[in-house]
Symmetry: C2
Subunit: 450 residues, 2 copies
């Protein structure tokens, strides 16, 4: 017998799952479009050369590569001349949505506006070890604004992200913001060599897991001077206002030009976010794993989730990777799979997401009157109702059982007497009540009740 489970780390989405996912994706799209972001879709399969060495060692290992086809490969295999993977693959599955965006920006330069604001909601694939909430095929929901270093993009992405979460019913999220230049400033005044900056950030990024002492130990193990990094780490857990945090940072970074620039950006993003009615918390210990950020970085957190619901930041050196010049960019990514997990756990899905395929089911009396049942179903569809027609003549009990199985709220019975009298009997599947309605009025009445 063939195994009928989905492949390891992959998921089937049955109707209820799809409806919930579509609901969340619908809210995300609608809000992004209100902010003037446009939809983009790129192919699942990219040339391997496009993706190789863009995601570090981990990426090279976790990327799904596609086997070459054809006689030549088979012959080489038979002859034993294939010595490594490079002979075996020249295509791979999309690993994220950022590198494909960079390729698109380089390829359609003349078709895209000067500032290109796009959202993209598509699956990506990573051969990671599956775990709770971690899958090998999962959706990313990215917005990116490309072509300007204006901080309005940071502010509007935070406003849009905040609006999406509120619309989905989240009321306890916190938007944390920091700036790579603030971190650079702290490392600078601590006497950390430029060459050790990313190593130091990796250590700081572990604060949540290993605590202040752990980070300091790790820095010392790497021969990195701790200096002011200790004061930075001590921001953790303190519930300072944005103004107090800025003031302290200004004190720490008075002699660092780069640090001062970071603080200036943060102040402007705070000002613009206030105009947008969005509250931010400055968290000077926020580092974010990815190395490509160059400016503001942000994360959205809720109390009952380790990790973040969403995150992003400015990355001015990446989008130009396929062209000749740097292109400034700011992006924000919503963790769709995590949002779905939290909404499920908290019971946050709205009741108006349908749980049944239809509003009404129409029964079938016998083979001769099948066409009459079809016509009734068709009339009710024309009136805007979703209608399931029971497919065959069967005992009424069986038909009701099926109606129960699909969770439909009303059943229209078209039996001998109803046909003779031009009526329909409508059974409410919840109350069990049944009433007889004139054929001509049944659709409009069901719409009102529904």
């Amino acid at each position: 017998m063939t195994n009928t489970n989905p492949a390891r780390g992959m998921r089937d989405f049955l109707p209820t799952d799809v409806r919930r996912r579509d609901y969340v994706i619908g809210v995300i799209k609608e809000v992004y479009e209100k902010y003037g972001y446009e939809p983009l879709e790129t192919p699942s399969i990219e040339n391997l050369a496009t993706l190789t060495n863009k995601y570090g060692d981990e990426g090279n290992q976790l990327m799904y590569k596609i086997l070459k086809r054809g006689e030549k490969l088979l012959q080489e295999l038979a002859e034993g001349t294939v010595k490594d993977e490079d002979h075996l693959s020249d295509l791979a599955l999309r690993y994220d949505l950022t590198v494909p965006l960079a390729r698109v920006v380089a390829n359609y330069r003349n078709d895209l506006p000067r500032f290109f604001k796009r959202y993209q909601i598509q699956p990506v694939w990573r051969a990671d070890r599956p775990a709770k909430g971690r899958y090998r095929e999962f959706y990313q929901c990215d917005v990116d604004a490309i072509g300007s270093n204006s901080l309005t993009y940071e502010a509007e992405q935070l406003a849009a992200g905040s609006e999406i979460l509120k619309r989905l019913g989240f009321d306890d999220f916190r938007i944390c913001i920091n700036h790579r230049k603030v971190l650079s400033g702290v490392l600078e005044v601590s006497g950390v060599d430029n060459a050790d900056h990313s190593s130091a950030l990796v250590a700081i990024d572990k604060l949540d897991k290993i605590g202040i002492e752990g980070v300091i130990e790790e820095l010392e193990n790497r021969d990195i001077p701790v200096g002011k990094i200790k004061s930075l780490l001590e921001f953790a857990g303190k519930d300072l206002s944005a103004e107090e945090t800025i003031k302290k940072l200004e004190g720490m970074l008075a002699v660092s030009e780069v640090g001062g620039n970071g603080i200036e950006d943060l102040c402007e993003i705070l000002r613009l976010s206030t105009a947008n009615g969005v509250e931010l918390k400055i968290d000077p210990t926020l580092a974010r794993g990815l190395s490509y950020y160059t400016g503001a970085i942000f994360e959205v957190r809720v109390p009952d989730l380790a990790g973040s619901l969403a995150g992003g930041g400015r990355y001015d050196d990446l989008i130009g990777m396929f062209g000749k010049e740097d292109i400034p960019a700011c992006g924000f990514s919503i963790g769709l799979e995590r949002i779905l997990v939290v909404m499920e756990e908290r019971g946050m899905f709205p009741e108006d997401i349908p749980t049944s395929p239809a509003d009404v089911m129409v029964t079938v009396w016998d083979a001769e009157t099948l066409d009459e049942s079809l016509i009734l179903a068709s009339e009710m569809r024309k009136a805007g109702l979703k209608v399931v027609l029971y497919p065959q003549a069967d005992k009424l009990g069986k038909q009701f059982k099926y109606a129960d199985q699909i969770g439909v709220a009303k059943v229209c019975i078209l039996g001998e007497s109803e046909l003779a009298e031009g009526t329909v009997s409508v059974k409410d599947m919840v109350s069990g009540e049944q009433k007889t309605v004139d054929r001509g009025e049944v659709a409009s009445q069901l719409r009102i009740d529904g």
Copy 2:
């Protein structure tokens, strides 16, 4: 320089493409849901064992297989012990939506209703030679009704398909129907051995391309008796009514039980389709390539397209492939990519598909008043408008140029005097007219004009 084109046979969808695709997909979904079909999604990657030998030789060749990962493979390669593809891959990309459906039906037996009606709109991948309108990643839009041999499923799928095409603006399509048992009957009365039936059907399926004489020659080359097949082929091009066709077939197949059963089914589908207000044309030469059909088969054609816009039929022996018993099923598949090509060529996309990312753009006067522009944008979004904020202080001319580039219809100018007077200047980008409006009224006025 890296090649920045999408991989061979793959496509990027820029915003205009995505909007058009989403529009068509939206219509398809809405209509299928009215008929009580539920959404299903399956993973892009399946275990290779699930897909192997399900699609004939062609499928085995055109399937995208995924390279195994890990040290073991590298070592085997280095040692030259990998002699064939089987060592290299245990996963593959989805090749169609039918085999995954069969897997889902076997796997979630107890979670699915007795009759399971699902639609599925997802990409599939085939390493076919790219050609006009033929891509290596393309969408399939399938509906299937599983668990009953009732002909209401044939009738409702034809009604839904017809409604979708009408809603999309097609008014010249023709729904052709035939029945595998009618074809079997013709082969039977012609004295064709059972073993030669599929070979004969392959020849008949070429009628459009090689004509009556060509098919007869091909049958003779294969030593298949022509017999009544000639009369069958002569239906081609004759514009008979359904009644006339049925009458002729009854004459031809008077002695064939299987043929008679096929004719009976066709008559019932005609009766139910009449009840649905759907016109069918019986085309006794319609064979459809796929071998798995067991009952009615159908195709939807338009004059300006070789091949069909949609097609399907009954296949009662396939869905049970992963279980112990046969499960009856009827399915219909809409050729999304072809529909998009024809709609593009004929200019059928409705004007209300947006061509711009926004209804309005808000200009920026200077760095100090950036937050004022943000607030105006935010007010207009709250009123339901899609708003792009120009990201930075710039010459007004540059800002208008960008507005032109993104095709936005109105621009709101918030300059020194407007800010002082509590007004907004609104420029119509088509007429070039400009008028000054009270700040409090600008959103509602734009919505009315828009």
